[in-house]
């Protein structure tokens, strides 16, 4: 399907649209909205049999097929293949009761961020993650990538034993070799390089200090390619040290984002605070206001009340101008801050009226305003944000000292050291610089000059291929650890014994310490426990801390002081302008820096903005696409400083003109899933930390040819009906139902009776940010299969819940609403009436349920579903899977074979689990006791599930809210899901941010 942008004149468009085709109403888009399946999703009979078009099926062919099918069915029916044997445990593990789930508190680290989690295990297998509800910050929520990381535990690509020069050897041999090299280094005084991820663990930090004491020539660098060098560089300039920045949105009335994507699902604490501010029952409740200035459209930008596309290279100039304006209005500049280089007045990037409103809003909010800057934005923009927060005296952001991270400059020094033969040995622990370092060829040459190279990690990657010693590490679900988080010291404990002959990295380091003559503990568990008993527990027991997963304690830190003297230089640099197209390199939603690229759940989760799966096309603004004559999926060549990449392009509404956006972490050359998916953008990364991720001077040209994009945004359309609603605060106050009239429903059928429970769901579109945590949670809980890029392109993705992303308004800067869409569990379900075998039917408590073994795959139900939420297994996605992949399955949920229809079940297994438990305890089910996976996974609490028959339940109150509506109510299907209309709080026609 080709997309043509409007050539001339305004286009009469529907209010909400999802794709450019819909926006300009191409005939193909109209046809696609009308059709139930995408072209190619359902194979035509003629295509399969090679018959000429319009030949139909002859009587002879039909009889032949029936006979063959009968013969085949008889043959298959006699087959005894696949019958398993159920055997009891010969020695039952004490902790395991078959059929009963165990829950362990643990923690997952990703960069500097730590996620306290609760791990569900069945028969000893970790199968599902949620946030740790005891933690005061995350309160039971976590991130999509943390939830998906359980799949990495069972990745078939995991290393199972140590290797030396490509051959499997035992641990004794591998350790002896590494220890020998380090002993020699100690004797000769030659440096040893240790490159690891961020140090968020105090015990790991202590262990490294011990190692450093035993081996004084050890040089350690903490390297996080996705953290953003510019943020680190700016922190060092503004505060003289590395800082961790934690927004406190509960205190924020006005938020200004300078390309900061703080609502992208990575930070559950911030999302919870955002959701709490947006879930309004009445227009009189306080609500915050979000201003966003950014280049590429981010999830935060889609949730903005006011958003203006601004090139990232201009953000610093705009922010310093804002500081000058606020200072001129009486806010006092920090001591030593000099803004004389900044020109006064409104910058051209923001309309004058909007500028005046922004200044007024920030001034009015004062210490309840906060300015946040995106990690990838230039260092000067960060410094301007630090200045603005100091100027406002913001209480809505917490700054604390952090462990420093290596920037590209530090890495460059290490590369030069390696090239000069300075190091005796190098250890790479959980990092992949051979892939993430911009100058890969230089890295390869340099690293080859280190006499001994050892790698510690989970799956062999590009760096492992350059090392003689490859040491397999435990997955974090098999490991011990601890972390410092705001409000609590968090423990990480193993939730399963090691699956393979692996060790955790810390135990390898302890082995090194022992060889170097220092033996602080026999293993890391003992080391960690001793540290905790000495420094953390303070009267409590280690067992209790493991049970809770944490000890509540506020870390005593002194907020770093802002250095006003740093402002003048930064403001001077901010006025520079860039020529040509500006390339913004950002961590991939699915891949981050590439570490998650082998995770098929994440690869298949649509990007929240572009809805791309399995690829990282370059995003081009609407205006640039018009100028360059680029259409969706066209191959383009992207050139920057001698590096050229051929990759497909997507046209991204809302992206600033002159800005290109490209995700990092794709284009891996190792990994069964990751290899060959997308293009590697790291060669474009700059070596100047201040502007590493924002690169001027990029050139884009059409390369010829097109790629069929595996993009879900045009799938499962609902013919432009009234599906999604968005209100301003003014509309909410005066016309909460807008022009929509509640239809009078007349039915010939008798009302259904629900004797005990009537399960229902409420989804608040104002709180939903579109982060896709619910999609991953559902995939993990319900054994939703992965189908691959080719099948996604045909519209055959299997997710039971999808996030529809709707645009509203102009192509250049549309407003956006996200709407989670799943089976609506209609009381008069159109799918139930048409099933010829009664495979889909209604339960007495209001669930639209599926009997998979009864389904014969007619697809009539999908054809008749107005919400397009039924998913058909066109191919066999699961039967050929073997261990370890099958270990990730939830045994409570049937794994569906080919030819069967499936869809959301409202997590019926969870409902029944609670029912059985309540019955056993002789009580009724409590409100909030049943949580669906999507609800439990939603960090902003946008999803509420409960019993509509309980008048005191939270859901019973929410369904009567003034913003409440049901999608396609006029159809008369009586859906069990109620949506609350989205809310925006713009200055004009809105509400004061109070």
């Amino acid at each position: 399907m080709k997309t043509r942008l409007p050539d001339h004149g305004p286009v009469e468009a529907p209010r909400f649209w999802r794709t450019l085709e819909e926006r300009v109403e191409t005939p193909e888009a109209r046809q696609a909205a009308h059709d139930e399946f995408l072209p190619g999703a359902v194979p035509a009979y003629d295509d399969v049999h090679g018959l000429p078009p319009q030949s139909g099926v002859s009587r002879r062919d039909f009889l032949g097929l029936v006979s063959a099918a009968a013969a085949l069915a008889a043959t298959v029916g006699c087959d005894r293949k696949g019958q398993g044997t159920v055997v009891p445990y010969t020695k039952r593990p004490v902790e395991v009761t078959p059929g009963v789930a165990n829950y362990y508190a643990s923690a997952f680290q990703e960069g500097r961020r730590v996620y306290p989690v609760l791990v569900k295990t069945r028969e000893g297998r970790p199968i599902h993650l949620t946030g740790n509800d005891e933690h005061p910050g995350v309160r039971g929520k976590t991130s999509p990538r943390a939830m998906a990381d359980v799949l990495r535990l069972y990745d078939p690509d995991r290393l199972r034993a140590p290797k030396a020069e490509g051959r499997t050897i035992g641990w004794a041999g591998a350790e002896a070799r590494l220890q020998g090299a380090l002993k020699e280094a100690k004797a000769t005084g030659k440096p040893v390089l240790l490159l690891s991820g961020a140090l968020a663990s105090p015990s790991r930090k202590a262990l490294l200090a011990d190692l450093k004491a035993a081996l004084p020539t050890l040089e350690h660098l903490a390297y996080e390619p996705a953290a953003g060098d510019a943020a680190e560089e700016a922190a060092r300039a503004s505060y003289g040290q590395s800082v961790a920045i934690q927004p406190r949105l509960a205190k924020a009335k006005v938020i200004l984002s300078l390309g900061a994507d703080f609502l992208n699902g990575e930070d559950p604490e911030t999302l919870a605070a955002w959701g709490a501010q947006r879930r309004l029952k009445s227009a009189k409740e306080p609500i915050n206001r979000l201003w966003v200035l950014e280049g590429p459209l981010t999830l935060t930008g889609t949730n903005a009340d006011h958003r203006y596309p601004v090139a990232p290279s201009r953000l610093a100039a705009v922010a310093f101008a804002l500081a000058r304006e606020l200072a001129a209005k009486g806010l006092s500049l920090p001591a030593g801050a000099d803004l004389s280089a900044v020109s006064g007045g409104a910058p051209a990037d923001v309309p004058a009226q909007a500028w005046a409103n922004l200044v007024k809003d920030l001034q009015h909010a004062g210490r309840n305003a906060v300015v946040l800057c995106g990690a990838q934005m230039p260092a000067e923009a960060h410094q301007a944000a630090h200045l603005l927060n100091a100027l406002l005296g913001s209480e809505a952001v917490a700054l604390s000292p952090a462990e420093p991270l290596a920037t590209t400059r530090d890495l460059e020094a290490a590369v030069q050291g390696m090239a000069a033969g300075r190091y005796a040995a190098a250890i790479f622990w959980d990092v992949n610089p051979a892939f993430t370092y911009a100058r890969a060829a230089a890295w390869k040459d340099a690293v080859a000059k280190v006499p001994l190279r050892a790698w510690i990690g989970l799956m062999e990657d590009e760096t492992a291929a350059q090392c003689q010693l490859v040491l397999p590490e435990n997955h974090w679900l098999e490991s011990w650890g601890d972390y410092t988080t705001p409000g609590a010291a968090v423990l990480q404990q193993p939730t399963v014994g090691t699956l393979y002959d692996t060790r955790q990295g810390e135990d390898v380091l302890l082995g090194l310490l022992k060889a170097l003559g220092s033996a602080p503990a026999a293993d890391y568990h003992t080391y960690l426990r001793a540290r905790w008993e000495k420094a953390v527990l303070q009267g409590g027991t280690f067992e209790q801390a493991l049970h809770d997963g944490l000890v509540k304690a506020e870390a005593k830190t002194v907020a770093p002081a802002f250095k006003g003297a740093s402002v003048a230089a930064a403001a001077g640099r901010a006025t520079r302008r860039t020529e040509g197209l500006e390339l913004v390199l950002f961590p991939g939603f699915a891949t981050l820096d590439g570490r998650h690229a082998n995770n098929s759940w994440l690869q298949e989760t649509p990007d929240p903005i572009s809805k791309m799966t399995w690829d990282n096309p370059v995003a081009v603004s609407v205006q640039d696409a018009q100028t360059l004559g680029i259409q969706e999926g066209d191959f383009v060549t992207l050139t920057l400083e001698g590096t050229t990449l051929r990759l497909p392009a997507v046209i991204q509404p809302g992206q600033a003109m002159g800005v290109l956006a490209l995700a990092l972490g794709y284009g891996r050359t190792t990994g069964g899933v990751a290899k060959g998916v997308g293009a590697n953008a790291y060669p474009f990364l700059g070596l100047d930390p201040a502007t590493a991720n924002v690169r001027p001077g990029a050139r884009l040209a059409k390369a010829g040819g097109r790629k069929e994009l595996s993009r879900t945004q045009s799938h499962h359309r609902m013919e432009g009906r009234d599906i999604v609603r968005s209100l301003t605060m003014d509309e909410f106050l005066h016309h909460p139902q807008g022009h929509h009239h509640k239809p009078e429903l007349v039915s010939l059928y008798e009302e259904q009776k629900f004797p005990d429970h009537k399960w229902g769901m409420v989804i608040d579109l104002a709180a939903c940010v579109g982060c896709s945590a619910c999609v991953v949670a559902c995939q993990s809980e319900n054994n939703v299969p992965v189908v691959g890029a080719e099948q996604v392109a045909k519209g055959r993705e299997m997710h039971w819940i999808r996030i529809d992303r709707y645009y509203e308004g102009e192509l250049e800067n549309p407003k956006v609403v996200h709407q989670p869409m799943l089976c609506q569990h209609c009381d008069s379900a159109p799918c139930e009436n048409v099933c010829p075998v009664n495979a889909t039917n209604h339960s007495p408590d209001g669930l639209n349920q599926m009997a998979y073994n009864r389904c014969v795959g007619t697809r009539y139900c999908a054809n008749n579903c107005p919400y397009k939420v039924r998913r058909f297994n066109f191919l066999e996605y699961t039967a050929y899977k073997t261990e370890p992949e099958t270990l990730a399955y939830n045994p409570e949920v049937t794994v569906r074979p080919r030819g069967v229809m499936e869809k959301c079940s409202f997590c019926v297994q969870r409902i029944n689990d609670v029912k059985i438990r309540a019955k056993g305890e002789g009580r009724s089910i409590l409100d909030g006791e049943v949580t669906t996976a999507c609800m439990a996974g939603c960090p902003s609490d946008a999803i509420v599930f409960g019993d509509l028959k309980d008048p005191k339940s939270r859901i019973a109150q929410l369904v009567t809210a003034t913003r409440a509506y049901r999608v396609l109510e006029e159809v008369g299907a009586k859906p069990a899901i109620t949506y609350l209309a989205d809310l925006k709080n713009p200055v004009a026609g809105g509400h004061h941010a109070n």
Binding site: G50, L51, P52, V94, V100, Y104, L118, Q493, G497, Y500
Partner: protein
Amino acid sequence: MADANRTPLLDRAAALLAGPFLLGRQALSLAFLTDRETPEAPALALQRIPVTPPEHAIKRRG
């Protein structure tokens, strides 16, 4: 309709002839292979991955 049904007749006839021909060629090539050795038996792989409980861990509930 009749025309449409007759059209693939040639295709079907071709398939009838080509099928046995290709199969026969394959059979001959197998029978007259000279230096074909018996493939090595694959190494005995562990059929199941042992799942063991974690040591020293304390569960929250279950």
